[in-house]
C-alpha cells in the first residue's frame, strides 16, 4: 500500500469537498439547524397531572394521594368560582376538581352528591376519565365501603427498571436522529465525490500514477469515515452528549461512520449524477432511519427494527448518553453494529472496486 499516494488522494478529495458549495453549505446548515432544534426540544418529561382543587375537609386524603403517587401535583383554590376563573384565564392548571363543602358528610350518610370537573380542551380523554374514576373511588371508600379487590404490594406491582422521574426526554431520544441526518449528509458528500470521479474518469488518471486500486479504495474509505466521524463528534459535543461514558459514544460513532461510509461508497458506485446520488442515498436513508424513529416511542422495538443496520448505533447513543450505559450494557447493540459495519463496508468497497476496475 502506497501511503503517500493515499495521502495525496485524500488531500485532493478534501479540496474537492470544500469546493462543493452544496455539501459544504449543507454541512454547516445541518449542524446549525440540528443544534438549534435540539436546544428547543423539551429536556424533561412531564409525568405529572397538574390539577386545581377546591375542597374542605379532604386535605388528609389528598396529601396521602400526592405522597403515594408522584404523578399528581395539586394547587388549592378557595372556591369553585376561583378555580374555574383560574382555568378560564389560562394562568391556572388545565384541569380542576371542585368538591361541595358537605362532600364528606354526604357520602358518609350515603346521600348522593355531585363533584364538578373543569377541563380545558388540552386535557386528554384518559385524564378526564381517570379523574372522574378517582372521585368515584374516593367517595366509595369514604362512604365506609370495603375494598373490592386485594391490590398487589408496590414491589409486586412494578416490572422492569423503575424510570419514574428518570424518563428519557425528547432531547435525549432525538439525538440519534440528528446524528443520523448528519451522517447522511456526509454519506451523500462521499457518494458525490466518488460518482464525480468515476464520471469524469479522474480515477483512471489516478491509476496511471503509482497509486493502485487499493490505494484509491483506502483513501475514499478513510476520507468518508473521517468526514462522517468528525461531523458526528462535533454535533454530539455541541448538543452536550459527552458525559461519563464518552468512550462508548465515540466508539459507537466511529462504527456508525464506517457503516455510512460503506453505504456512501456503494451509492457513489451506482449513482451517475447529483440527482441519482440523492435518489440512492434516500433509498438507504429510509430503512436506516427507522430505528431512530422507533426509539421515540416507548417499549422495545419490533424484531425487524432490531435487525436494521442502524439499530445498534441508535441503542448505543441513547444508552450511553441518556442512561449512562457502558460497554458491558451495550455489548449486544455494539456487536450488532460492528457486524453490519463490516458487511456494509465490504459491500461498498466491493462495489467501488468493480466499478473502478471496469472503467
Amino acid at each position: 500500500m502506497n501511503t503517500s499516494a493515499i495521502k495525496a488522494i485524500i488531500s485532493k478529495d478534501v479540496r474537492a469537498f470544500t469546493r462543493d458549495r452544496f455539501y459544504l453549505f449543507m454541512t454547516f446548515l445541518g449542524l446549525a439547524f440540528y443544534v438549534g432544534i435540539f436546544w428547543f426540544l423539551p429536556d424533561t418529561v412531564n409525568e405529572t397531572i397538574e390539577m386545581g382543587i377546591s375542597q374542605q375537609g379532604l386535605e388528609a386524603y389528598f396529601d396521602t394521594l400526592v405522597e403515594e403517587d408522584g404523578g399528581l401535583a395539586l394547587a388549592s383554590f378557595e372556591s369553585a368560582e376561583a378555580l374555574e376563573s383560574a382555568i378560564r384565564s389560562g394562568d391556572g392548571p388545565a384541569v380542576g376538581l371542585a368538591f361541595p363543602s358537605d362532600f364528606a358528610a354526604s357520602v358518609a350518610d350515603g346521600a348522593g352528591t355531585e363533584v364538578t370537573l373543569f377541563v380545558t380542551s388540552a386535557v386528554p380523554a384518559e385524564v378526564r376519565g381517570a379523574l372522574s374514576s378517582m372521585v368515584r373511588e374516593m367517595a366509595y371508600l369514604a362512604a365506609g365501603n370495603p375494598a373490592l379487590v386485594v391490590l398487589p404490594t408496590e414491589t409486586e406491582i412494578l416490572l422492569g427498571t423503575d424510570r419514574a422521574g428518570d424518563q428519557a426526554s425528547l432531547q435525549e431520544t432525538m439525538r440519534p436522529m440528528f446524528v443520523f441526518f448528519m451522517l447522511m449528509i456526509e454519506m451523500m458528500a462521499l457518494a458525490t465525490l466518488v460518482a464525480t470521479e468515476i464520471q469524469t474518469r479522474t480515477v483512471t488518471a489516478i491509476l496511471v500514477t503509482p497509486a493502485s486500486v487499493s490505494d484509491v479504495l483506502v483513501a475514499k474509505a478513510v476520507l468518508g469515515t473521517v468526514l462522517a466521524f468528525s461531523q458526528a463528534v462535533l454535533l454530539m459535543a455541541l448538543i452536550g452528549s459527552f458525559g461519563a461514558n464518552s468512550l462508548v459514544l465515540l466508539f459507537a460513532l466511529l462504527l456508525g461512520s464506517i457503516l455510512v461510509t460503506g453505504f456512501g461508497l456503494w451509492a457513489g458506485s451506482v449513482g451517475r449524477d447529483f440527482l441519482s446520488i440523492i435518489y440512492w442515498s434516500v433509498l438507504f436513508l429510509i430503512p436506516l432511519i427507522i430505528p431512530a424513529i422507533a426509539v421515540l416511542f416507548p417499549g422495545t422495538a419490533a424484531a425487524w427494527v432490531q435487525a436494521m443496520p442502524s439499530w445498534g448505533l441508535v441503542e448505543a447513543i441513547v444508552g450511553a448518553s441518556a442512561y449512562g450505559d457502558g460497554f458491558g450494557e451495550l455489548a449486544g447493540p455494539l456487536t450488532h453494529l460492528g457486524i453490519w459495519c463490516v458487511a456494509a463496508f465490504f459491500a461498498g468497497m466491493l462495489a467501488l472496486r468493480r466499478k473502478v476496475v471496469r472503467i
Binding site: F22, D69, E114, V115, E126, L148, V149, V150, T161, F274
Partner: protein
C-alpha cells in the same frame, strides 16, 4: 411546440429521480406525520388484559376512551410485554372474577405496572381499572361527576401539520421539477439544441411550467385525499392547489433559469425555501401572531386549502385570499419572462464562436 416539449418531458420524466421523489414525498410525509406526530405527542396509556373467564371488565375496558387496550392470551406474554415497556400496565382477570367481586370475596387483583411507564399513566390506569371493576360489578358510588368543558376544542397536531405536507408536495413538484429539468437541459446542452429548432424560450418555459403545475395538482390532490382532507368544496380545493401550483412553477422557472448547475439549484432551494415554507409555522402554532404569515405569498393558497379542508369554510369565504394568490401569479409572469430572456442571452454567449486570431 409547447405540446411537443411537454410530451418529451413527460416521456423522460419517469427516469428522473426528482420526479419520483416528488410523487413519493407526499406519501412518505403523510405516513410520517400520521405515525410519528399522530401518536408521539398524543400517546395514550397502554393497558394489556388477560381474561381467563368471560369478564365484563374486559368488555368495558375495550370501550375506554383515551386508553389503548390490548387483549392478550396468556399471563406470561402479558408480563413480558409490561416488563419490556411495550405496555404501561397489565391486568389479569381470573376465572369467575366478576362473581367474586360482586359477592364481596375481595379476590386478589393481578395487576402490573411497567417501570418505564410515566407516573401520570400509572395513576390513570390504576384508578381507571378500579373504577371499571366496581361499575361492571353493579356497585354504585355515592357521587356523580359533572364535567364542565372550558374553552374551544383545539385541532390535533397532525391536522395542523396538513399545510406543511401540502406545501412540500406542491413546492417539490411545482418548483423543483421544472427548475431541475431546466438546469439539467442546460448542463447537458440540450437546451441550446432545443432553441435552434422552431421552439422559442417562451415555449420551453411554458412547457416546463405546465409540467410543474400538472404535477403539483396531482401531488396536492393525492396529499389531501391521503389526509382525509378533501372536504365538501372539492372543486375550490382543486382551484386553490392549481393556483398554488402555478405560483410554485413560476418560482421554479425563475430558479431554473438562474441556477447554472444542479448543486447551485439545490443550495439555493435549501437556503431559500424557508421564504416559501414559513407560513405553515403559524398554522402549527396558532398562538403566534398570524399577521406575519400573511407576508408569505404561499399563505394565500395554503390558508384557503386549510380553511376548506379543516375549518369547513365555503368557496365565498376563501375567494378573497385566492384572488390575492392569483394576482401574485400574474405579477410574477414578467419576472419569469425576464429570467427566460436572461437565460437566452447567457446561452447565446456560450454558443457564440470564440474570436480567432488572424
Amino acid at each position: 411546440m409547447i405540446r411537443h416539449i411537454f410530451r418529451k418531458d413527460i416521456a423522460l420524466g419517469p427516469r428522473s429521480p426528482l420526479l419520483l421523489w416528488a410523487l413519493v414525498l407526499p406519501v412518505v410525509l403523510t405516513l410520517v406525520i400520521r405515525v410519528v406526530f399522530g401518536s408521539l405527542f398524543d400517546s395514550e396509556p397502554r393497558l394489556g388484559i388477560v381474561d381467563l373467564g368471560d369478564s365484563a371488565v374486559r368488555v368495558a375496558a375495550e370501550d375506554l376512551e383515551g386508553i389503548s387496550v390490548s387483549v392478550l392470551k396468556d399471563i406470561e406474554t402479558l408480563r413480558a410485554q409490561v416488563e419490556s415497556g411495550n405496555l404501561d400496565a397489565g391486568l389479569v382477570l381470573q376465572e369467575g372474577f366478576d362473581d367474586l367481586v360482586a359477592n364481596g370475596d375481595q379476590p386478589p387483583l393481578g395487576f402490573w405496572m411497567a417501570g418505564e411507564s410515566l407516573a401520570s399513566d400509572r395513576i390513570i390506569l390504576g384508578v381507571t381499572a378500579l373504577d371499571l371493576i366496581r361499575t361492571t360489578s353493579g356497585i354504585g358510588s355515592p357521587v356523580a361527576v359533572n364535567i364542565v368543558p372550558i374553552g374551544e376544542e383545539g385541532l390535533e397536531l397532525s391536522i395542523r401539520l396538513l399545510p406543511l405536507v401540502v406545501i412540500m408536495a406542491v413546492a417539490i413538484a411545482g418548483t423543483m421539477v421544472p427548475a431541475a429539468s431546466l438546469v439539467q437541459e442546460k448542463e447537458r446542452r440540450t437546451l441550446s439544441a432545443l432553441l435552434v429548432s422552431p421552439a422559442t424560450m417562451r415555449d420551453v418555459l411554458a412547457a416546463k411550467g405546465i409540467l410543474g403545475v400538472v404535477l403539483a395538482v396531482v401531488t396536492g390532490v393525492i396529499t389531501l385525499v391521503m389526509n382525509d382532507a378533501f372536504g365538501q368544496q372539492a372543486w375550490t380545493l382543486v382551484l386553490a392547489i392549481a393556483i398554488g401550483g402555478v405560483m410554485m412553477a413560476e418560482i421554479g422557472l425563475m430558479l431554473g433559469s438562474w441556477a447554472p448547475d444542479t448543486n447551485t439549484l439545490f443550495t439555493a432551494w435549501k437556503g431559500g425555501s424557508i421564504l416559501l415554507l414559513f407560513p405553515v409555522i403559524f398554522t402549527i402554532w396558532p398562538t403566534l401572531p398570524q399577521w406575519i404569515a400573511k407576508l408569505g405569498p404561499t399563505y394565500y393558497f395554503l390558508q384557503p386549502i386549510f380553511d376548506l379542508s379543516v375549518n369547513g369554510a365555503t368557496t365565498s369565504d376563501v375567494l378573497g385570499q385566492l384572488g390575492i394568490a392569483a394576482v401574485i401569479c400574474v405579477a410574477l409572469l414578467p419576472f419569469v419572462g425576464m429570467a427566460g430572456r436572461s437565460l437566452e442571452r447567457r446561452l447565446a454567449g456560450q454558443t457564440r464562436p470564440s474570436p480567432v486570431a488572424n
